[in-house]
């Protein structure tokens, strides 16, 4: 396995362990975080805090480079426009997240933990992505 693929694999592994350890991969905990009017569990705000604290340093460094530490192109998103798909898509995503307590990463981690319900969610999510592809043609964007 070359270094480029190994680092992508290791990043995925560490990301997944982070989701597990933090509680993000537990839909019951996610819903308790989203339930401001109930018995609110604020823990997951700290996940974002911890991740962004590290991310700010990393992306500041990345923004000063045109190639990565492995010599491949630095591919930072360039878009800065606010458009309708961004707004409606983000609102729709929040509704789906609030319905089951799963967002894409945690659902994949729970699938890896052999949770049948996560497998059903992931299949539906993939179908939803396919639906977008059918409606919009193949002009998919990175996110």
């Amino acid at each position: 396995m070359n270094r480029y693929l190994f680092s992508a694999f290791a990043a995925g592994l560490i990301f997944g362990i982070g989701l597990l350890v933090s509680g993000m991969a537990n839909p019951a905990k996610v819903l308790a975080f989203l339930d401001l009017a109930g018995a609110w569990d604020p823990s997951l705000a700290l996940v974002m805090g911890g991740a962004v604290a590290v991310g700010l340093v990393a992306f500041t460094l990345a923004g000063r480079r045109t190639v990565t530490l492995l010599g491949t192109p630095m591919e930072l998103p360039a878009r800065r426009d606010i458009d309708r798909p961004l707004v409606l898509g983000s609102l729709g995503f929040g509704i789906g997240w609030g319905l089951a307590g799963f967002c894409p990463g945690p659902a994949l981690v729970a699938l890896g933990a052999a949770e049948t319900k996560a497998a059903v969610f992931v299949l539906a999510m993939v179908a939803g992505m396919g639906l977008h592809g059918l409606i919009e043609g193949r002009k998919g964007a990175d996110g």
Partner: protein, 144 residues
């Protein structure tokens, strides 16, 4: 607002968050790519797209995370209360919406905010707001 202090797990949440940040740092500094899970998954599904192998490698790591963590420690709880119809509806909505919105909690929430991207800041505020609103309607208005 009542805070459920008995459920509050600040240290594991912070430690997990730091790991997520480190993973995103690795992927941008070594691979030059954004750790946005919905974008990576969609990129694997898109036929004829370049860059499929690094995405598959990343997803493989994500899927193996519970297994690797299980070798070293006890598995954290994963409790899924939603029934199958709700999981299917939620999955479809998350799938199609994250493509229109070009990102999710990882791509916009973690990486985008770290880049101070105005698109991602807005996206994160919107999906947080609609997530809070959805749980409020489901639990406190409909009583599901």
């Amino acid at each position: 607002m009542t805070i459920d202090w008995s459920a509050f797990t600040p240290w594991s949440a912070l430690a997990g968050g730091v790991l997520i940040g480190l993973a995103a740092a690795m992927l941008i500094l070594l691979n030059g790519r954004i750790a946005g899970i919905s974008g990576i998954l969609a990129g694997v599904l898109r036929p004829g797209d370049g860059g499929r192998t690094w995405r598959l490698a990343f997803l493989l790591g994500l899927l193996l995370a519970p297994w690797v963590w299980g070798l070293a420690s006890t598995m954290p709880a994963i409790r899924i209360d939603a029934d199958y119809p709700l999981l299917i509806a939620a999955g479809l909505l998350v799938g199609i919406s994250t493509r229109y919105g070009a990102g999710c909690t990882s791509g916009h929430g973690v990486c985008g905010i770290s880049r101070l991207s105005p698109r991602s800041l807005l996206a994160t505020m919107l999906f947080m707001a609609s997530g809070f609103a959805t749980v409020y309607v489901a639990r406190h208005l409909l009583g599901v």
